[in-house]
Amino acid sequence: MRFAHSVRTIYAKELVDILRDRRTLIAMVLVPIVLYPLLMLGSVQALSYTVRELRSERFIIGVLNERDKASIEALIRADGVSLANREAELDPDLEDFAELPRPLNDDVKVVAYASIEALTGKIQDRAVQVGVVFPDGLLVPSPGVRNPIELHADYGEVRSANAARRIDAMIARVAEATVRNRLKAEGLPESFVTPYDVVTVDLSTESSVLGEILPLILVLMTITGAIYPAIDLTAGERERGTLESLMVCPVPVLDLIVGKFLVVTTVAIMGATLNLTSVTATVYFGGFSEMISSEGGSIPIGRMLLILVCLVPFAIFMSAIMMAVCSFARTFKEAQNYVTPVIIAVLIPGGIAALPTSELAGTMLVMPVGNMVLLSRELLLGAHIPFSSLVFVLASTTIYAAAAVAVAVKVFGQESVVFADSGSLKMMLSRRLIKPSRCVPMSMALTIVAVLFPVWFYTQTALAPGEGESAAGSIYGTAMFMPIFFALVPIALLAYGRINLTCGFALRRPPIRYVVAAVLIGISAWVPAFELNALQQPLFGGIAVDAQSKMIGEALIEIGPWMAFLAIAIVPAVCEELFFRGLLLGSLCGATGKWTAIIVSACVFGVFHFFLAKFLVTAVLGVVLAYLCVRSRSILPGMIAHVLNNGLGVLFILYPGAATMIGISDDETLAHLPLHVLVIGGGLFAAGLLATSVRRVSVDGTATDTMPAHANAR
């Protein structure tokens, strides 16, 4: 295999090359092994020092007169005595010895001020941390007498707030002791005033805090690992003048980019592994585990391996992004300028995902970077992850990575980027200089798919009806946005890229027999779809699907037959055929084999329905529609089949009589279709497929999957 040979050769060479680079070694080995432990030790020590400092800091209590001064000093003394007594009761070898609060005796100084204004001013100037005022004076506490105490503090300032908190806690302790003594005097048990005794049990696993932090560190490490090799292997090659000699080798750009991309991924994973090992070792051997994990336990090796597994798809994704970005640059410096905004753009979703309140659900499922951060966090915490969530994260990441690699392939070989003297990047994107073409480049198609995927997901999530709401709004919204995203935007982009729209969207007049085939498939496809759905029922339980179709059914009755037909049958058929069969399939056909293109486009079509239980059925229909398009070289038969298929669905919902007419009983628990429907429907479907696949010898049957040569290039 030429491809495998070239990629292996390039991979081996680039890996040796990059590993011999002192800068790589510094970034990859020296930084994690020396710098991270030092930084970590330093910052952790500084942090614990500050905390200790804050806990034992001396502070000044301001009072208004000598009587109040005596009162607060009496309280502090009483607290000191009771704390000393409790300390004497405790076994000093026990760990909760350290848990006892620190008495205030040595830490405070009480100063009297003339007026409340003077005291407030001193607190605001931060000369005094807290003011204590006894409006009624402090009487000897006796039952039936309230003793109001005011605490004045600047709660926005950490030292003042801390001082107020300590005094508050101290008063509470004295009060508690007083109550205890009163109960003892009355011969009552303590439960007299505490009818409930709440005990909290912490179930968080030992590495929960670690789990919150690590994924974000992980993201940073992986990006850091990918940056340098990505720049070196693309812009660096150009800057050193070696690109020209590489480009005259009989190796396609795809092989070059794939080989280099794999090296970047490898280095990113190696770097992140070293970082992770180093952090783990620092935490483990440095004795800082209690700072990071709540129970002070060790970090199990299994968890670390799990993180590494999460790392692989993420490293692939980040490497692809970095390669794509750096491919635009001609020099190292230029590449670094491009990389900086990308890192910031990546950190935002990463940071959002790292928030403790973020969950791996809803829009977060397809948010680039964010979904990976959340997935690794959930894995790390040992949480149960629904299979569909896993699929969403991996599918969206794969789509984004594929688009990024395609862009890199497209840009890397560009004349204007290879030779510094033949035009700038701006010129490459300038419409006037784009050569008119007939086929949509794969990089363009995949980029549109990658951008549209989250956009459409967000749109669908936003449009989804709330609990108890009618789905009519969602249906109208979808019918309105679908033409914009799936038809108008792609048409505008293709027009800008000077791509012939007739060819780009395969808008040709199909031979009549494909129209016949499309009608046959359109009126019968629901039969195999129904059976397929019944077959996969045990996998998904079918409840979600049933609930959804019931809701849609009610909404369709609400909006009436014409609108229902327009919104459910016509609009999706036209838009989805334009996008998935016209643009995506056509562009994939130009770059890969016919069947790869059909399968990939059908899977993307399935994934875009955002409903795991529907994936198989939509993907299979996608294969049939794609096959129809490839054979007829037009999307029109597919549109006809699509309209009929969706239209029949609407018909069955709005007029249940139609279903009874062909012999389907109105039984909700129907598991399989009646035999005669199966035979007739299956027969029609098979006839449609047969009519599509039969090769006519006279018509240029050899070129069915390529663009016609006679099409006008302008």
């Binding site: 030429r2 040979h5 070239s6 050769t9 390039i10 060479k13 040796v16 090359d17 011999r20 680079d21 050193r240 003048g241 070696t242 020209e244 000699s245 590489l246 480009m247 005259v248 080798c249 009989p250 190796v251 396609p252 004349e415 290879v418 030779f419 033949s422 035009g423 700038s424 010129m427 300038s430 006037r432 200089l433």
Partner: protein, 260 residues
């Protein structure tokens, strides 16, 4: 097809290359250039700076797409069959970089492997080239540590690693000392004697006089004169190539100024 029938290994017909300029207009670097190079000859492409020599050679090697016209190497169209062209072509420029962190030997083996050779074949071929080009003494040093002349020898080895029947060399002796110069020029001649077809662009006119079987004089993207040294002498009435060069290029000046 005519190229395959005839003896011409390189055929350029009406080649045009326009570069876009930031102001929206275009610069014509190559202007309806046509020439043929028969098998087993050294064709010298000569001309002042900016004449379009480098652009022409890049089009011939498939690195750049021509705006118009056709170029064929051994019958393969450079625009539509770039991979076939690259397979039969060795391309060399004066300022080509080498991978600094690979040794000369590793670099040569890498490029041999990129030409789909298996490892034993690649290593055998590289050993041969190391011997021929006098690389042995520095074959295992990293390329970053080599001198200009040593680098250029390695570069020639890279261009020749797949033993291509056609060689395109853009100023191969730029900035070299006399000794390296000699090694390289002798080597090019030897390749010619073995039946290779070579296109050479150079600034050194005495070098062209010594090396080239055919000479094409370029100016402003066009060929102003073509032929062997003898016919050029007759055309211009001058003996020395440098005089011929000045005279012919000068004669073209008014016409050249109008081409844009």
């Amino acid at each position: 097809m005519d190229a395959a029938d005839s003896n011409d290994m390189v055929v350029a017909e009406e080649l045009v290359k326009d570069f876009p300029r930031p102001d929206g207009r275009e610069t014509r670097a190559v202007d309806h250039l046509s020439f043929r190079v028969p098998k087993g000859t050294i064709y010298g492409l000569l001309g002042p700076n900016g004449a379009g020599k480098t652009t022409t050679l890049r089009i011939l090697s498939g690195l750049m797409a021509p705006t118009g016209g056709v170029a064929r190497l051994a019958g393969f169209d450079v625009a539509t069959e770039p991979r076939e062209v690259k397979r039969i072509l060795g391309f060399l420029t004066a300022n080509t970089g080498l991978y600094q962190r690979l040794s000369a030997r590793e670099l040569l083996v890498y490029f041999a492997r990129l030409h789909q050779m298996d490892r034993p074949a690649a290593e055998a071929r590289v050993d041969q080239l190391i011997d021929w080009l006098g690389i042995a003494s520095f074959a295992d040093l990293r390329c970053g540590a080599l001198s200009t002349g040593q680098k250029q020898r390695v570069n020639i080895g890279r261009a020749l690693v797949a033993d291509p029947p056609i060689l395109i060399m853009d100023e191969p002796t730029l900035g070299l000392d006399v000794l390296s110069n000699r090694v390289i020029l002798d080597f090019i001649k030897r390749e010619r004697d073995e039946g290779k077809t070579i296109i050479l662009s150079t600034h050194y006119l005495d070098e062209a006089e010594d090396m080239c079987d055919m000479i094409g004089l370029m100016h402003s993207g066009r060929l102003v004169a073509e032929g062997d040294l003898e016919s050029l002498r007759q055309l211009s009435g001058e003996h020395r190539l440098s005089r011929i060069f000045l005279k012919l290029v000068h004669a073209d000046e008014p016409a050249g100024a109008s081409a844009s």
